[in-house]
């Protein structure tokens, strides 16, 4: 199959396929589940076909001309292939896990429709080489996210979903203004035509607000902990695979791959994001709600990803790309472990839990493994990504920023070990067995992948290195 067709299919199979899910739901529950998993599997498999092309470091553009001189343009390069593989794979695992988790809920048609549309729009956003389509997919993701957060339809949940939607919509709207400013300057929305263009500080600020709102960076981050009211699968999807990664992806695509930023922004960005990372780690230490802790942890780790990108060194960029993969695996694992615990105990306050390692050994070990990866301890994958981000930061001359980032890692270690000790160790408060086999299998797989991604880091690193080389157009 040719490369362009694969890219188009990667985007349109899930987007259009998601709309057929309610039809499958008409036939039977079974049919809907099978159909959803199948769509997810195809979406995860297609980008893998692009891997040999991506590893060659080449770039290809798929164009379909539309009305009004707008081109539907997809860019296929190592960066977009890498991102699509990570997102669709984690997304697929979450769909498998959902089969057990969502089995007893209502509105399952809507659930699977939204999840697949979510993943499909992510693919669309990742491959878009046009600012307008990027924005369109960006907003579709926002809408899916809004429905999914309010999935249980309780009043409080709907309010939280509204908050998430409004905050991210605000960011997106401002970002659109930024896009318009760029259009005024360059006369095009085509990213490939604008490589190396120096854009104004105002445009940077506007676009940055959009990225920060989706990728939950201070000061636009507080909707994410609140979004924890969603089903745990959704939270995992938001945190690990799709939502929060689009801001950092957009950063890499726009601020690294495409545009040139004014010097002042380059100096200020690392400081912004490291402070955000630190504050979120502090909040995670104070919180006692299982999912809120993990949510703050995501905000904190996103700070690292931004940090690696914003220092503009090859080490940092490679580190951040690797971080997207490692964080995707590990954080999905953590959330899905939390899901098993919450599903079984019906509690969310870690102070009320304890001793669950006896009844949930696999979940406990998987949680610990994923936690080690998030902390950044060898031999887990997170170690390498954090190491590269730190050395990249140091090489950019920002030693103090690197020191703060490492201090954040100490804090991360503290709160994640606290969660593990409180939930899984100590006196058992109740006996809550691990339930669905599929759910346990997925968390175990994610834990094993977190370990393997460390032991065999050279393989993902190859793609990451190619992506870094293809991103950098300036002289680092």
């Amino acid at each position: 199959m040719n490369i362009k067709l694969i890219a188009l299919l990667t985007v349109f199979i899930p987007v259009l396929g998601s709309l057929t899910i309610p039809l499958a739901g008409r036939i039977s529950r079974q049919a809907r589940s099978v159909w959803s998993v199948l769509l997810g599997a195809v979406t995860a498999a297609l980008p893998l076909l692009l891997l040999p092309f991506a590893l060659s470091g080449k770039q290809d553009i798929a164009v379909r001309t539309l009305i009004l001189g707008l081109d539907f343009k997809l860019i296929i390069d190592p960066l977009s292939v890498f991102m699509s593989i990570v997102s669709s794979f984690v997304g697929f695992l979450i769909i498998v896990y959902s089969l057990g988790y969502i089995a007893h809920e209502r509105h399952q048609d809507e659930y699977y429709l939204m999840v697949l549309l979510f993943i499909g729009s992510m693919m669309g956003l990742v491959f878009s080489a046009n600012l307008v389509f990027m924005y369109v997919f960006w907003e579709i993701i926002g809408i899916c996210c809004w429905r999914l957060i309010g999935f249980y339809r309780e009043k409080d949940h709907v309010l939280k979903a509204d908050k998430a939607f409004l905050m991210t919509f605000f960011g997106a709207a401002v970002m659109l203004l930024g896009f318009i400013l760029i259009y005024n300057q360059t006369g095009t929305f085509d990213l490939t035509a604008m490589r190396g263009t120096l854009i104004s500080g105002t445009a940077v600020l506007f676009i940055l607000l959009g990225m920060f709102s989706k990728s939950t960076t201070m000061p636009l981050h507080t909707w994410l902990p609140d979004a924890g009211v969603a089903p745990t699968t959704v939270t995992a999807l938001l945190h690990a695979a799709v939502l929060v990664k689009i801001g950092v992806y957009a950063f890499a695509r726009l601020f690294l791959f495409t545009f040139s930023l004014p010097a002042g922004w380059r100096d200020a960005l690392p400081i912004f994001v490291v402070v955000s990372s630190l504050v979120a780690a502090g909040a995670a230490t104070v919180e006692n709600d299982f999912k809120r802790i993990l949510a703050y942890s995501t905000i904190s780790q996103i700070g690292y990803i931004f940090l690696g990108f914003s220092v503009y060194t090859p080490d940092g960029i490679s580190g951040s790309l690797l971080f997207i993969l490692m964080h995707g695996l590990a954080k999905a694992g953590l959330f899905l472990c939390a899901g098993i615990v919450i599903h079984a105990t019906h509690k969310r306050d870690i102070r009320e839990m304890g001793g669950l390692i006896k009844t949930m050994p696999v979940t406990a070990v998987a949680f610990l493994a994923c936690a080690f990866s998030v902390i950044g301890l060898p031999p887990f994958g997170g170690f390498f990504s954090k190491l590269l981000v730190i050395t990249g930061t140091v090489k950019a001359g920002q030693v103090w920023v690197a020191a703060v980032a490492l201090f954040t890692a100490v804090l991360t270690m503290f709160y994640l070990l606290k969660v593990f000790s409180k939930v899984f160790l100590g006196e058992a408060t109740e006996t809550a067995p691990e339930k669905t086999r599929g759910m346990v299998f997925v968390v175990a797989l994610l834990a094993v992948l977190s370990l393997l991604s460390g032991l065999l880091v050279a393989y993902p690193m190859k793609l990451v290195e190619t992506a870094t080389t293809s991103i950098i157009w300036w002289n680092p």
Binding site: K163, V279, S318, L377, P379, L406, L411
Partner: protein
């Protein structure tokens, strides 16, 4: 020998660890046989590698200078030999001592993984694999401590936090070094610790001494002595981490940075060393638990090694490194003998033990040799290495460091007199039933270590010339006197006489305390413990006021609270309260505009039209 054989010390134990995890827990004999055989094979390999001493293997790993680069040379071969030797002894010991503990699968798995990590760290010739293996050891240590019991996970977290902090410091140091020198290859780096590189030196030093268990990163060790299995203590904090930590410290001081005699960095090291010696030994003296007492010595003795290396004088550095291997032997032997006592009596509380020397003569003998060695009694190995450190400290001209080292010697001997007297001598205690000597696999490692302590002391030429002096090759000034064996056991020089005087002082102190305490040996330290001024400090220390971990956690908690309450919540309040309030205010404003009067609406329409015209007009350019 093909270079790929360098992978065996890493892959063999790692592979065995996987096997141990997979063998079902009821299969004991096969597991133990496999463990002993595997450890013997590794020890054999250790000897082979030491005879080769020159091998390197490199393969690209992550690109941009991060290679999987292994290098065997004199120093790393020496440490590797030590590591494999201890693995063998501990495995042998564990076959009996650990036999009936739960989680045996994990125990052997973690022990061999630890060995794999340690071997990997010592063979690495690139900083990234080094820190990879270095940090990997933290996780296995965490696992091993949790095996101890229900509450031991707290100590496990503590060890992981402290170790993690030190490792993260080292990562930053490595980052700075990489940015400045442009390479990650250990054997290519050689800089002066000045400016930002001084920071790199300090950060990397924290990583090294944190591993070795120096103050202030030591506080998990005494806790682990109580919580973790004793064989873990004898293996990791007593032996393996000392070898690794001091190996790296020596590399930092000798290879990566040029440590200048009495330079700022050298003085920093000496201060840390001296403080560690004195403060930890004061804590050791008053302990009431055998294992806890030993663990404080495991901290205190690191001070001698750091002090020795910090002198930046050949005799001091050699003494520090020699002390490292000596310490690993006698401290491991001491922990193992404490384990032997625990194995038979079920307790290590000094108050409950007494007069065991008749029933456990071999353990008592092994303990006595190791205790005399750690105290620096002529002609054992501890005497030789301590003398070298004293000489080095005196040569720097800062007599204060030598005095601190001597003060440490006094209290070390006093506390071992107390411990040995309480456990093995004196009247037979009534708290424990009659016991037998421990089985062969328990006693044998203790006796082997004791024999090595004697050998390395009496025939110090062997270790000094085979292991230690070649490390300094190329680092000492040409023509410098590098034969330390000539006066190693000489007692008729001022330094040795002062040392011997210290030992006599310790004996007198012990006898005085023993009499004061109603001839109860475990009370022999009470005169020091209750000494005015000291008592208050001891009370604070026992309340963990000086525990960097407790204080650090308190700091993390309060900082987090400030960040959460001071930054995160106010931002959220802006959205939750501020934005909604503004929204409501506007709604109310517009609501009041819609009051149902036709004229009112017409006025709004006209007003809007005017504004529109105005805006369009402004654009068109009126």
């Amino acid at each position: 020998m093909t270079p790929q054989t360098l992978l065996i010390p890493i892959l063999l134990p790692a592979g065995l660890a996987v096997v141990f995890f997979l063998i079902p827990s009821r299969v004991k004999l096969v597991r133990e046989v496999l463990a002993v055989l595997g450890a013997s094979a590794l020890l054999y390999l250790g000897f082979v590698f030491f005879s080769v001493r020159n091998l390197s293997w490199k393969t690209p790993w992550l690109g941009r200078g991060i290679d999987f680069d292994l290098r065997l040379y004199h120093f790393s071969a020496f440490i590797l030999l030590g590591l494999t030797g201890f693995l063998f002894l501990i495995t042998l010991y564990s076959t009996v001592k650990m036999r009936n503990t739960p989680r045996l699968r994990e125990y052997y798995g973690y022990v061999f993984l630890t060995a794999a990590m340690a071997n990997g760290a010592v063979l690495s010739n690139n900083f990234v694999p080094l820190i990879f293996f270095w940090g990997g050891g933290l996780l296995t240590l965490y696992g091993l401590i949790t095996i101890g019991g229900q509450t031991s996970h707290r100590t496990a977290v503590k060890s992981l936090m402290l170790g993690g902090f030190c490792d993260f410091s080292m990562i930053l140091g490595i980052g700075i070094l990489w940015a400045k020198t442009g390479t990650l290859t250990l054997s290519e780096i050689s800089v002066k610790p000045e400016g930002v590189l001084a920071a790199a030196f300090i950060l990397m030093m924290i990583g090294a001494i944190g591993k070795a268990g120096a103050m202030p990163f030591h506080t998990w060790i005494p806790d682990a002595a109580v919580d973790a299995p004793v064989s873990v203590m004898a293996f990791i904090p007593a032996a393996l981490e000392k070898l690794l930590g001091i190996y790296l410290l020596a590399r930092i001081a000798l290879d990566f940075f040029h440590l200048e005699k009495n330079g700022a960095m050298a003085i920093t090291l000496m201060i840390i060393g001296a403080a560690t010696i004195v403060l930890a030994v004061f804590m050791a003296l008053i302990q009431k638990d055998f294992k806890r007492l030993l663990s404080y010595h495991a901290v205190s003795q690191v001070g001698y090694m750091i002090l020795g290396i910090g002198t930046a004088i050949p005799i001091g550095i050699a003494g520090g490194i020699f002390h490292m291997i000596n310490h690993a032997m006698y401290k491991s032997g001491l922990f193992l003998s404490a384990g032997s006592v625990e194995h038979r009596t079920g307790t290590t509380d000094l108050r409950k033990l007494g007069g065991l020397s008749r029933e456990m003569p071999l353990t008592a003998f092994g303990f006595a040799v190791c205790a005399l060695a750690i105290s620096g009694v002529w002609p054992l190995n501890g005497f030789v290495s301590k003398e070298m450190v004293f000489h080095g400290a005196l040569e720097t001209g800062y007599i204060i460091f030598a005095i601190a080292a001597w003060a440490g010697a006094v209290l070390t001997f006093a506390s071992f007199l107390k411990a040995g007297h309480s456990v093995f001598l004196g009247p037979r205690s009534q708290d424990v039933p009659r016991v037998k000597e421990s089985q062969g696999p328990v006693v044998l490692p203790i006796l082997i270590l004791a024999a090595l302590c004697i050998l390395f002391g009496v025939y110090n030429k062997l270790p000094l010339q085979t292991f230690i002096t070649p490390i300094l090759d190329g680092h000492a000034a040409p023509g410098e006197h590098l034969d330390f064996t000539s006066h190693a056991l000489s007692v008729f020089n001022p330094v040795a006489l002062i040392s011997i005087g210290c030992l006599i002082l310790a004996l007198l102190l012990h006898i005085y305390g023993w009499r004061r305490g109603g001839k109860k040996a475990h009370l022999a330290s009470e005169p020091v413990h209750t000494f005015p001024g000291l008592k208050q400090i001891y009370d604070l220390a026992e309340a963990r006021i000086f525990d960097i971990y407790e204080q650090g956690i308190r700091f993390l908690r309060s900082l987090s609270l400030v960040l959460f309450k001071g930054i995160d919540r106010p931002i959220d309040a802006v959205y939750d309260k501020g934005v909604t309030a503004v929204g409501r205010a506007f709604t109310r404003l517009f609501q009041s505009a819609h009051n149902g009067h036709y004229a009112n609406y017409l006025a709004w329409c006209l007003g809007g039209l005017l504004v529109l015209v105005g805006v369009i007009g402004w654009f068109v350019g009126f």
